[in-house]
Symmetry: C2
Subunit: 618 residues, 2 copies
C-alpha cells in the first residue's frame, strides 16, 4: 500500500566501467491500485494497461479504471531492470508490416556525447539494438497506414485505451455535458475512429519504429488531453541516473510523453538509457545536440550536422522532434521591439544563424529532406514556435503569428510526405488572448494538433509558474489544445528537481482533466463523481486513493488528524464534528425520508406554492 | 533586506493571566521595498500606503509602486505592539460625521467564548474600546453617504489607492487592452467615481465604524480584483497567537480581507485580538458563534441568539457578515438528489433548523431586522450561498440557482435599508459552467459585487485545491467577480497552517492579477512589463524583488546557482550559457543595429518581398 518504494538496480557492467551511481527508480503500485490489461479484438495479442483503484466495500462500487501512462514500473508483476530496458512490445508489430529493414546504423562519435571521456562519460546502454528504417523509400508512418485504410495494432491499442470507462459512463451518466468548441469527441472510440482522425491529420501517434518499448498513445483534440514533462541535463547540472529516474517519476504521476531536453555532455548516451526504459513517447529538440556538436557556436551550425543528428536520434527511437523550421529570416526584424525578444532556445539559435549568414534558415530550406528522414522512421513533427512570446507584453504579436503562418505551410508539406505533425504554441499569454491562439492555429494549420507550453497568464510570479501557466493550460486545453507541456515551479529560475517534476505533472494533470470535463469528455466526470461520493460518505481512504496524488492527500490529512480512527471519522479537522456540513446533510436526508422530501421537491418543481411562502415583511 | 524577521511581543499583562505563548508576528519590509504614503486632496489628512519596489540602477527605471494591503507591519517606521493594537486611523473620520454615538455596549458573556475558563480562556484584549452606533436610527453606511452625494475620506482614500500607477500607464502604455465583459473600468479613478459605484451598489466599502484600524478598500467589478484569506481556529486545533499571526502573514502576501471562521472556544476574545490588529476588513459568519452558544445543536438556534451575536460582533468591529438568508425551506428538497448534498456549513445548519421546525428560515423572516442592525454599524452583507455546489456533479443545479434568486430579492431589501451588499458564489464548477454563474449573478443581483470561493474546476485533486480552484478563480475574476476567496492546499483535508496560508494567498494573487490583466485594467501590466524587462536584462535581483514572492523566487534560483556572482550572470541553470535564448536575443539586437533591422521590419510590414523568399522545393 505504500506508494513509493524504490528498486535498486546495480550499475551496468561495462568493459571500462566509469564511476556511476547505483541506479534507482521508483516502482510499485499506487495506493489501492492494480494494473489490469484489456485485450484487443482485431489484434488479440495487444494488452492495453489500465489502473484499477479499489474502493472500500461500503461504497458498493466496482473499482474505478483510470488511464495509466506509468508503464510496467507500477506493475508489481513486472520485473524491472534498467540495464536491460523495457520489453520491446511493438517490435513484432513493426516487423510484421514488412516495410522496414534493420541495418548497421550510424556509429556513435565522440561529439555525440560532447567529447565526454573517462569518468565523465556516461556508459553506453548495455545492449545495442540494430536500428530499422523504411525499405525502398516507403512511408512507414501511422499517417501513411491510416490513409491506406489500415487499422494498425497501435490504433486499436489507443482505441481501447481512450475508450476507457465510456461504456460505464453511458450506463450511469447518459447526459453529455460540456462545450468542445467544435471538436468531435465521440461517445465511443473505435479503432476506425482513431484511424480516421490520424488520416485527417487531426491526431498523431508518436511511435518511432525504433522505440518499440513505447505503449501507443494519441495526441489529438478529439481524445483525452495529454501532458508532457520536460527532463534533461544541462551544462550546469545533473546525471543519467537522475534523468532516468525523473522520466519514471514523471510518468508515475501521469506524464503522457517526456521530452529529453539535455544540453550538456553525454546527450547521446543519456538519451539511449531513457528511451530504452521509457513506455511513453520521447521527444527532443535535435538542434540542441547539433549545437553541442559545433561547440556551441550557432553560426557554425550546418544542414549536414543537423541532418546527421536527425538520423542519430531517429535510429535511437526518438518519437517526435521539435523542428524550428517556421522561423524565417524575414521574421526576425519583427522581434526587435519586443520586451523579451526571442525566448525559445531553438528559435534564438536559428535567428542567430540566419542573421549571421544573412540567409534563410536551413531548416526551412531543407524541410522536404527533413520530411523524408522523419517518414523513414515515423518520427512525428512537433513544429517549434521559435517566436513564441516570452512575456505578456509580447503575446499575439506580429512575429508570433507570422511564424504560425509558416507553420501552417510546413504542415501541408509534411502531410504531403505522409509525416505526422503537431504544432507548438505559446508561451506567455494573458487570458483574453488565449482563445485567439487556438482559433488561429486550428485555421492556419488545418486542425493539426496543438501542443502548448502553458501559457503563463502573468509574468509576476516566478516560483509559481506552474500555477500561472496551469490557468492558461486548462483554458487552452478546453479550447482544443491536444497536449499541454508542463511548467514547473522552477521555470525561469533553475532546473526542476524530482519534487518540481511531480508538482508540474500533477498541476498539468489537473489542467488536462479540467479541460476534459469542460469539453464534455463522456467519461471524465466518473472520477470526480467517485471521489465526491467518497467525500460525502466519509470514506477518507477512498478520497486519498482516488486523488491524483494519494500520498500528499493522506499526508495533509494526517498532519492534523493522524490517528487511524480518524480515517473513519464523520468529520475532519476543518470544521470539527459540530460544523460538518456533510454530516448534517446526511441528517437532512434522514429527515427527508421521514418527511417525504422527494415528493416535496416534485411539488416545488411543478410550481406549487406550498413551500413558497412570501417574505413576511420588507 | 531580509524579508521575514519577527518581532517578539511579550504576552499582555492581565489581572488573572492564563498561560499564553509569547506573541510573535512577522514584521519588516519585503525585499527592496519601502512604504510610501500619498496624501489626499479633498481630505488632506489621509495618507494612503503604497509599496515601492526599488530597481537596480542599471534599469534606469523609477521604483515600481504596487498596491499594499499589508498595513503597518511592513513599515519599518511603525512601532508594532500587538497588545496595543493598531492606530485608530478612521476614528476621527467617523466621529466627524456626527451621526454616531458611543455607548456602553453589550457585556461579554461566558457563552461568547464557549465557556472557556481558567487556562483555556484566551485573555481579553488589553483595551476595551466603547463601541459606537448610529444615532436615532440613522444609516451610517458608505452607501447612505454615497447616495447623499458625500465623498467620504474612505472614498478618496480608495480612489488614490486604486488609481495607483494609472498616470504612469497612461504615459507609457497608452493602448488599453483586454475584455471586461461589460464592466466599466475607468482610465482614471476619481473619488467621485468611487462614490458613484458605491451609490449604485456595484461596489462596497466594508468598513464597520467600530473597526477604525482598517485602511479603506473597495470590492467591486470596476476596481482591482481582491482576494480574501480565511483563518480561524476549530474545535480541534489552534490558538489566538497563531490566528493573529496568520492574519498578519496573510496580508503580508496580499490578502485584501480576512475572514475569521473560528468555531472553537474563545471565539469572542480571539476575534477581538484579530480586529484590533487588522488593517484589512474582517469578515465572519455569525451563525458559527451562535451555534456554539447553543451547544452545537442546530435545532436550538433562535432569532434571539442570532440577533445577540450580530450585535456582539458589530460592536467589536466586524466589517462584513456572511448571512445565509437565501436558503429557504422550500429549497431543501432540491438537494436530495445531489452527490454531495449541502456543503456550506452555514447552509447545512440552517437547513437542519428549517427541517426540524418545518418552518421558514429565521434569517429570511427577520431579514429586515438584520438590515437595521447592519446599517447602524455599517456592517456589509455578504449574502451566503448555503446551497453552493460541493462537487462537479452538483454545479449550476436547481438548488443553487433557486437560492441565487432569493439572494437577488434580499439584495434589493438590503439596499432599501441603505446596507452594502455583496453576494457569495460557488464552489465546485467545471470551466464550461463558470460563465453562467457570473452572468446570472450580475443579472439577478443587479450588479452587486460577486464574491466567490474558487470555483474548483475538478474534484480529483485534494492536496492541490489551491490549483484546481485558482484556475476557476482567474476565470471568474476575469468575467467579473470582485473578490476571490482563497482555497489552500489543505482544503477538504485539514486546517491550513502558515505555509498553506501563504500558498493560498499567492495563488489567489496570481488569479486576481491574471484577471486584472485580462479585464484590461489600465495599469496592471506595468508590473509584468517591469519584471519581464528585468528578466530580459538579467537583473536577477529585480526579478526576485518584483515577484509576488521574492523569498521563494530567490531560494529556487539559489538551489542551483547559489553564488552571488550568479546574480549577475547572463544565463541561468536551465540552459547554461550556450543555450540562453535571452543572451542570444541581445546578440541579435546588436546585429540588428548593424543591419538596420528596424528598417527591415518596416519593409516587411509594408509587404515588401525583400525578405520573403519562397520555399525552394516541396
Amino acid at each position: 500500500m505504500t506508494s513509493d518504494p524504490t528498486t535498486t538496480i546495480p550499475a551496468p557492467t561495462n568493459p571500462t566501467p566509469p564511476a556511476q551511481p547505483v541506479l534507482t527508480v521508483t516502482t510499485g503500485a499506487l495506493p489501492a491500485s492494480a494494473k489490469v490489461h484489456v485485450a484487443g479484438v482485431i489484434h488479440p495479442d495487444i494488452r492495453v494497461p489500465m489502473r484499477e483503484i479499489a474502493l472500500h466495500p461500503s461504497a458498493g462500487e466496482p473499482p474505478l479504471r483510470v488511464y495509466d501512462a506509468s508503464g510496467p514500473y507500477t506493475d508489481p508483476g513486472a520485473a524491472i531492470a534498467i540495464e536491460r530496458g523495457l520489453p520491446r512490445l511493438r517490435e513484432s508489430w513493426v516487423a510484421a508490416r514488412g516495410d522496414t529493414e534493420s541495418y548497421a546504423g550510424r556509429e556513435v562519435r565522440p561529439e555525440d556525447n560532447g567529447f565526454a571521456a573517462d569518468d565523465r562519460l556516461t556508459p553506453e546502454f548495455t545492449t545495442c539494438h540494430r536500428p530499422r528504417r523504411a525499405r525502398d523509400g516507403r512511408a512507414v508512418t501511422q499517417l501513411a497506414y491510416a490513409r491506406a485504410g489500415i487499422v494498425t495494432p497501435e490504433m486499436e491499442f489507443i482505441a481501447i485505451r481512450e475508450n476507457l470507462a465510456r461504456q460505464q459512463a453511458a450506463e450511469t451518466a447518459p447526459r453529455r455535458d460540456g462545450d468542445s468548441f467544435g471538436a468531435a469527441i465521440p461517445a465511443h472510440v473505435t479503432p476506425e475512429f482513431v484511424r480516421d482522425e490520424v488520416a485527417r491529420g487531426r491526431a498523431i501517434i508518436p511511435a518511432n519504429i525504433n522505440h518499440p518499448e513505447a505503449e501507443p498513445m494519441i495526441i489529438g483534440r478529439n481524445f483525452l488531453v495529454k501532458i508532457n514533462a520536460n527532463i534533461g541535463n544541462s551544462a550546469v547540472t545533473s546525471s543519467m541516473a537522475e534523468e532516468v529516474e525523473k522520466m519514471v517519476w514523471a510518468i508515475r504521476w501521469g506524464a503522457d510523453t517526456v521530452m529529453d531536453l539535455s544540453t550538456g555532455r553525454n546527450i547521446h548516451n543519456i538519451r539511449e538509457w531513457i528511451i530504452r526504459n521509457s513506455p511513453v513517447p520521447i521527444g527532443t529538440v535535435p538542434l540542441y545536440q547539433a549545437l553541442e556538436k559545433v561547440g556551441g557556436i550557432a553560426e557554425d551550425l550546418s544542414w549536414q550536422v543537423f541532418r546527421d543528428t536527425l538520423i542519430e536520434q531517429a535510429e535511437q527511437g526518438v518519437d517526435y522532434f521539435t523542428i524550428h523550421a517556421g522561423l524565417r529570416l524575414h521574421h526576425i526584424p519583427l522581434t526587435v521591439d519586443r520586451v523579451t525578444g526571442i525566448v525559445s532556445r531553438g528559435g534564438s539559435i536559428m535567428a542567430k544563424w540566419c542573421l549571421h549568414h544573412h540567409r534563410e534558415s536551413f531548416l526551412y530550406e531543407h524541410f522536404p529532406e527533413i520530411c523524408e528522414i522523419m517518414r523513414a522512421y515515423d518520427v512525428s513533427f512537433s513544429l517549434g514556435d521559435g517566436l513564441r512570446p516570452g512575456s505578456i507584453a509580447d503575446a499575439n504579436d506580429a512575429a508570433q503569428f507570422a511564424e504560425l503562418e509558416t507553420l501552417g505551410e510546413l504542415t501541408r508539406i509534411a502531410w504531403d510526405h505522409d509525416c505526422q505533425v503537431m504544432i507548438e504554441g505559446p508561451g506567455h499569454v494573458p487570458m483574453h488572448k488565449i482563445r485567439e491562439n487556438m482559433d488561429k492555429q486550428l485555421e492556419i494549420c488545418a486542425e493539426a494538433p496543438f501542443y502548448t507550453l502553458g501559457p503563463l497568464t502573468t509574468d509576476i510570479a516566478p516560483g509559481y509558474d506552474h500555477i500561472t501557466s496551469g490557468i492558461g493550460a486548462a483554458m487552452i486545453g478546453w479550447f482544443g489544445t491536444a497536449m499541454l507541456c508542463y511548467v514547473t515551479p522552477k521555470e525561469h529560475l533553475g532546473l526542476p528537481d524530482r519534487d518540481d517534476v511531480k508538482t508540474g505533472v500533477i498541476t498539468y494533470k489537473i489542467a488536462a482533466h479540467a479541460a476534459d470535463l469542460a469539453k464534455g469528455h463522456p467519461a471524465a466526470q466518473l472520477r470526480d463523481d467517485a471521489l465526491s461520493r467518497a467525500r460525502f460518505e466519509f470514506r477518507w481512504e477512498d478520497q486519498f486513493n482516488l486523488s491524483l496524488d494519494p500520498d500528499t492527500a493522506r499526508a495533509f490529512h494526517d498532519q492534523t488528524l493522524p490517528k487511524e480512527a480518524h480515517k473513519l471519522a464523520h468529520f475532519c479537522s476543518m470544521c470539527g464534528p459540530k460544523f460538518c456540513s456533510m454530516r448534517i446533510s446526511h441528517e437532512i436526508r434522514a429527515d427527508a425520508r421521514q418527511q417525504g422530501m422527494a415528493d416535496m421537491a416534485r411539488k416545488y418543481r411543478e410550481g406549487g406554492d406550498l413551500y413558497m411562502p412570501a417574505l413576511q415583511d420588507g
